[in-house]
């Protein structure tokens, strides 16, 4: 992708899901319960390597390389968390509800464009990130070459002098084999915070 200042990319031409596709992707993520067959033992280390690399690329602000790890039909979703009584009958996650991220790949490109513009003053000097990913579980799905992944993460951010935030959460991914690597096709990020105890989510998850 081009993020040069003079040639602004036309983000309208970037890959974008229709609303129906996004809803279907959300339904798929909600239905992921980790009940399938675990992937073959030989595959798991490759999947782990993929996620370790992803974390490192994000730590190092190598956003364009990270962008290449995302499938064109990406659905990237961070629903809101609400405090509700256990007896509450409403579904906990609904793709039509307000969310913190509800993105196609094109929207990720716009966010990378913000950083690449060098006009985002609040990222200059840059924020320092450390991602930890752990507890990776991988399962077969009904589609050959697509895997259901569950894992936990910690994202620590620090900028300026005393400005620090630590977000922990869980992710569910639909990971697709592409040649000798993978791409993220669906991602659901679940933060446990109902009130975000930080001022923003100026980061990728």
């Amino acid at each position: 992708m081009s993020t040069s200042l003079d040639a602004k990319p036309n983000y309208l031409d970037y890959p974008r899901l229709s609303r129906e596709q996004a809803r279907a992707a959300a339904a798929q993520l909600i239905a992921m319960t980790g009940d399938g067959s675990p992937v073959h033992d030989a595959l798991l280390p490759r999947i782990q390597r993929f996620y370790l690399r992803e974390a490192r690329l994000l730590d190092e602000e190598r956003h364009e390389e990270w962008y290449a790890m995302l499938a064109d039909d990406l659905f990237y979703w961070m629903p809101l968390r609400e405090n509700r009584f256990r007896r509450d009958k409403r579904p906990e996650f609904d793709p039509d509800n307000m969310a913190l991220f509800d993105e196609s790949k094109a929207d990720i490109a716009v966010r990378i464009g913000r950083l690449a513009s060098r006009l985002a003053w609040t990222e200059d000097p840059p924020t320092r990130h450390v991602y930890l990913v752990t507890g990776i579980e991988a399962f077969e799905t009904a589609v050959v070459g697509e895997y259901e992944i569950h894992y936990a993460f910690v994202q620590y951010r620090n900028r300026s002098e005393h400005d620090a935030a630590m977000l922990c959460g869980r992710r569910r991914d639909l990971l697709r084999a592409t040649g000798d690597s993978f791409q993220v096709a669906r991602r659901m990020i679940l933060l446990p915070q109902s009130v975000l105890l930080t001022k923003n989510l100026s980061a990728f998850f």
Partner: protein, 446 residues
Amino acid sequence: MEKNGDRAVTPTAADWVDWEVGTVDRRIFWDQAIYERELERVFARSWLFVAHESQVQAPGSFVTTYMGEDSVIVARDDDGIAVFLNSCPHRGNRVCFADSGQARQFTCNYHGWTFGLDGALKRMPKVGLYKSTPGFRMQDWGLKRARVADYKGLVFATFAEEAPELEDWLGDFRWYLDAVLDAEAGGTEFLPGGATRSVMGCNWKFPADNFVGDIYHALWTHLGGAEPTLGRHGGVQVENAGSYQVSVNGHGWEFNDSFLGNAATMGDRDLLRYMRSRQEAITARLGKFRADMWGSVASATIFPNFSFLPGYFTFRTFQPKGPLKTEIHAWTLVPKDMPDDIKDRFRRGSMRTFSPSGLLEMDDGENWEHSTSANAGWITRHQRLCYAMAPGGDLERNDLPGIVSAGQLSDANQRLFYKRWAEMMDAESWADIPVAQPTAGAKVDA
């Protein structure tokens, strides 16, 4: 407090704010004693936004929120919407821990006192202990209720018995509010899923004064966020020709006549096409002047801490959590009769611009945090801040209600926000707080 002979001299809020020249003492963003007085004299006296009626539509539906630092429950019973303290009068425990839901009653976890949807005490375990207590009356121990009123779907409440009616509190600001609340027939609603909530280490007045009249910051702060959607330096078109600031009782709105200037930064062509398709009908409904405000480059605050942005239609409260901490609660408001697909585009568009993950909001928080934290320095906080910008002066337009100034690039509304703040801080009672007399309505386009 300084002693001057026998006379105790306490600085008044009018000393903190020179609204005519436009300077503000930085201690009002830092001082704990001033903050405590704000809770008493600003928040406990104001009509505060508590919910959109669409959040509490069915009988038994409720949300919890805050009025100042007071936790409250907003519940719908058969008689309407009631607002009452979310703190048990028995030992003070919080009564309802859910953000929203359906309930027939609210039961305190501590001893099991149970309250109705109107806040009244209904029953408690081993009630006989109280029945045999001389002088104990159930009706004395309900959850304290607030006055409740609404304006076109927005529900406000106050615990101040002596406060004027909501319609007088909003006054002529209602005429402008119709540009977002009554642009389409059928009323408005908040999109579902609850509020996005986040915490900032800033004083609540910085975001409130930003929304009341600071479009100036957008030209610089938001360059990075606007660049990817609208192109470098082309993102935000703001001029003083064809734009205004208007203030009524400290509420303020700065706006231009671009109809969809704010909305354009969401970068969704289908959404803009839809908005254009509605321009003629909205113009017929509101007149050209207010129709042009619908989604224009604009921001507004309803005093003290309820703000919104036309075009993105994000509505948010800046909940005070001490002088150095503010919680932002944000919702997206849309006309009820808007097609579902367009509502969904606003849901995603407002999220991507003005939410904790929003490309534009992400740039704001750090500014407000450091405008606040810098005041740790004793020398620093004794330097007054500059709210002096006044390029256009007051505008003599008797066809527009409120105090109108020419040009949205100005500190006019912010000066009047702090004037209102000082009036409320210094007033001994509500009787000492001036309220602008509502006029019959504006003549423009009428």
